[in-house]
């Protein structure tokens, strides 16, 4: 089977859907002729023409607002925000408009739209190229929020997102575009071409929204995580010889609560890991749900490892990033809580 990077698999998903459905259109800043700053849309304009894949003015509210209008017309826009850090001008369009259009019009108008954006740090992008704003979207009724962690899932989830009848926020952890980064920034990253999850089938397939997956079966504790932190969690557990069950949530909204309850009920311990800032982060929702549903099975408090509550710094990137040592410490503390 062909192996692809996450960039190639994301491009493949859009290519597959543009081929199958002429209502799929792709646009954003630098997305057309050049193919995007991360090259996710490379070649799509040449293949499908300028009216299916095109450059947009630097105006995120305009990109998303226009996409909402197109979606209500019957197109399926899949737009790119160059970095999640730039999405805020479009936040009103996403929150007040896309998310509520079906509800407020009682289904008279709908918004089948995907907004893709790279998230997360680890590339020395400072505070304007590193943020993980997922919790700003999981708090919004009417949205779906997806975070893939590998090329296979990225393609299957993006196809599901494009086919979904409702607006989907598709967050792409840019640090793992080219390989599964485990948080050891001083070591080389294995490219996706040497990783099983880099195997991406040609053509159409889907990974369903709302379904988590166990990346590792384990008995001692459950790690709830997603995106880049899946690999950081794997590394931390391996380095501490901890038999962790690692759940890659893949979709944050709607959440696969069943898989979480089943796992935590079995292990009795749970830690939540994300790169986004701690306070009011998605981990808070996960911790609340775990204690609501698994309280009598828990043998230790639910721990959270997250980005510090500061803006994403530049020079101090690796002091900020919740790498394997911080995750490892939380794993040990949660186990020693016996």
């Amino acid at each position: 089977m062909p192996r692809k990077t996450m960039i190639e698999s994301i491009r493949d998903a859009m290519d597959t859907m543009m081929e199958r459905d002429e209502n799929v259109v792709v646009f954003g800043e630098d997305v057309g002729f050049f193919g995007g700053v991360f090259r996710c849309t490379q070649g799509l304009q040449a293949k499908y023409g300028k009216t299916r894949c095109f450059d947009a003015p630097i105006n995120e509210a305009g990109i998303v607002g226009a996409a909402i209008g197109m979606a209500s017309y019957g197109l399926k826009p899949c737009v790119e925000i160059q970095f999640a850090d730039y999405v805020y001008p479009a936040y009103d369009q996403i929150v007040s408009e896309a998310a509520r259009l079906r509800y407020r019009s009682n289904g008279d108008f709908t918004c089948p739209m995907v907004v893709r954006m790279p998230v997360g740090g680890g590339i020395f992008g400072g505070q304007t190229h590193s943020q993980s704003p997922e919790a700003l979207f999981t708090h919004v009724s009417g949205l779906k929020v997806v975070v893939p962690s590998n090329p296979y899932d990225a393609k299957g989830l993006l196809i599901s997102a494009i086919e979904d009848p409702d607006p989907v926020i598709f967050l792409e952890p840019k640090r793992i575009y080219n390989g599964p980064f485990d948080g050891h920034h001083d070591r080389p990253v294995t490219p996706w071409s040497k990783h099983d999850l880099g195997e991406v089938p040609d053509g159409h397939y889907t990974v369903p929204l709302g379904k988590a997956i166990k990346r590792r079966e384990g008995s001692q504790l459950t790690i709830l995580t997603y995106g880049t932190m899946v690999y950081v969690a794997e590394a931390a557990a391996a380095e501490h010889n901890i038999d962790a069950e690692i759940i890659d949530l893949r979709t944050l909204l709607p959440l696969d609560l069943e898989t979480i309850i089943e796992s935590v009920s079995k292990t009795g311990r749970c830690i939540v890991v994300h790169e986004a800032t701690l306070t009011s982060g998605f981990g808070a929702e996960l911790a609340a749900l775990v204690q609501e549903h698994c309280f009598y099975k828990l043998e230790a408090p639910v721990a959270r490892v997250a980005g510090w509550d500061t803006p994403y710094p530049h020079a101090q990137e690796w002091d900020y990033f919740p790498g394997p040592s911080r995750v490892g410490r939380a794993l040990v503390e949660t186990l020693e809580g016996l």
Partner: protein
């Protein structure tokens, strides 16, 4: 320079905050506004280069003169029957508003917004559209529905949030939605719909269809970033959209100068984008239609967007939640130089010999009967606090096409 490095030769700076000409207690004064004579403004060809018609952003296109005659190059587009129909639409909207305004005072709904003085804008514009076109309206364009033959009972059921409310009680009163009638769901957030209209129009062009869009905004919310986003996108992609600005002089209590700033007119906002801009007497049914027809034809011929500023006056309060006497002279409405749109069309029809005082009075009575009958029917399905209402179960439906597990759990918790 002074010793501490502060530049002194020009004196201290001061902040400019625009003020309306008159405040409550003063005499209404529109002497600063220039109103060209009816018939005096040229009508360029629809395919005119925007560069060659910039003057029209600073004028006012008018058709009806003080004698009630239709004059000039924008006149004579509508037949007697069409004009009588237009008059009926405006009278219906005004009567509808009056009844719903009272219904709100009676506690039958929480909120209402009327069109008093602005009826011509949406009623006449609707006449230039065809089935399949889409408006992205604000809350003050219900004339698009009335003139589009949308059933008044449906509108009232929405206002009452009753058991027949097509929006199941989820949306504030008057935030209608009807795809079939070319009326996009009203958000309630200002300006967001402007860029959506451009996107919708782009979609029609991408699909090589023939449908066009109409965006709507008020003078105040042209200050929003979404307005400017819409102009950029419309200009870049030459979208088949008419960009309407209804300048009714007042954004709640804030006069239009706060949003307009140093720009001469709102229409002039289009010029920097290379978008042709027209300014029209919004209280002149014939002029509004003529301009709407020009702009829609331009869009249909794939010549791109047009920006239209309707100069009108909000004769009533902004909504049922404010009192205009607190921020503008009480008699300002009567002093408005462009008069009342219904009276002006009525006088024109009488001047044409197509109408009479008797027919007008009779029509008023007929319309009142029709509106009251619709109101009775709507009220038989409930009002906000009495009778049939949407179920609490409906509250959980329609957030997504398929209800996700967490909403199912919450619905169970709510016991509905």
């Amino acid at each position: 320079m002074s010793d501490d490095g502060i530049a002194v030769e020009f004196g201290p700076l001061s902040l400019h905050v625009p003020e309306p000409a008159v405040r409550p207690g003063g005499e209404p004064d529109f002497s600063n506004v220039t109103f060209p004579d009816a018939g005096s403004v040229r009508r360029p060809d629809v395919d005119t280069n925007p560069e060659d018609m910039r003057d029209l952003a600073f004028s006012i296109i008018r058709v009806l003169n003080p004698e009630g005659e239709a004059v000039g190059p924008w006149a004579n587009l509508l037949t007697d029957d069409q004009l009588v129909e237009g008059l009926r639409h405006m009278m219906t909207l005004r009567t509808f508003d009056a009844r719903m305004q009272i219904a709100q005072r009676q506690g039958k709904t929480s909120f209402y917004m009327q069109h008093l003085g602005e009826e011509a804008v949406s009623c006449a514009f609707r006449k230039a559209l065809v089935q399949g076109d889409m408006n992205f309206p604000t809350y003050r364009q219900a004339g698009l529905l009335i003139a589009g033959e949308y059933p008044m009972v449906e509108m009232m059921c929405q206002i009452y949030s009753n058991e027949r409310d097509p929006l199941k009680g989820r949306q504030l009163p008057i935030m209608y939605s009807s795809k079939e009638h070319g009326f996009f769901s009203i958000s309630g957030n200002l300006a967001t719909q402007y860029i959506q209209a451009v996107g919708w129009a782009m979609a029609s062009a991408i699909k090589k269809d023939s449908k066009i869009a109409a965006a709507w905004i008020g003078d105040g919310s042209t200050a929003e970033s979404d307005f400017h986003a819409a102009l950029v996108f419309a200009s870049t992609y030459k979208a088949p959209v008419v960009l309407n600005i209804v300048n009714n002089q007042w954004a709640i209590s804030t006069f239009q100068g706060i949003a307009r700033g140093g720009s001469g007119t709102f229409a002039a906002r289009g010029l920097g984008f290379g978008i042709p801009a027209l300014r029209v007497d919004g209280n002149d049914y014939l002029a509004v239609f003529a301009v709407a027809q020009w702009a829609t034809e331009r869009a249909r011929r794939n010549l791109g967007p047009t920006l239209v500023e309707y100069v009108t006056y909000r004769a009533g309060a902004h909504s049922t939640s404010d009192d205009p006497s607190a921020y503008r002279p009480k008699m300002e409405s009567e002093a408005w130089p462009l008069g009342d749109p219904i009276m002006r069309l009525k006088n024109h029809l009488i001047a044409r010999g197509a109408w009479s005082e008797e027919r007008h009075t009779q029509t008023e009575a007929e319309i009142l009967d029709t509106v009251i009958a619709a109101q009775k029917e709507a009220e038989s399905f409930g009002t906000l606090h009495a009778g049939g209402k949407p179920s609490a179960r409906d509250m959980f439906e329609g957030v997504y096409e398929e209800m996700p597990p967490h909403l199912r759990r919450q619905r169970q918790q709510a016991g509905v």
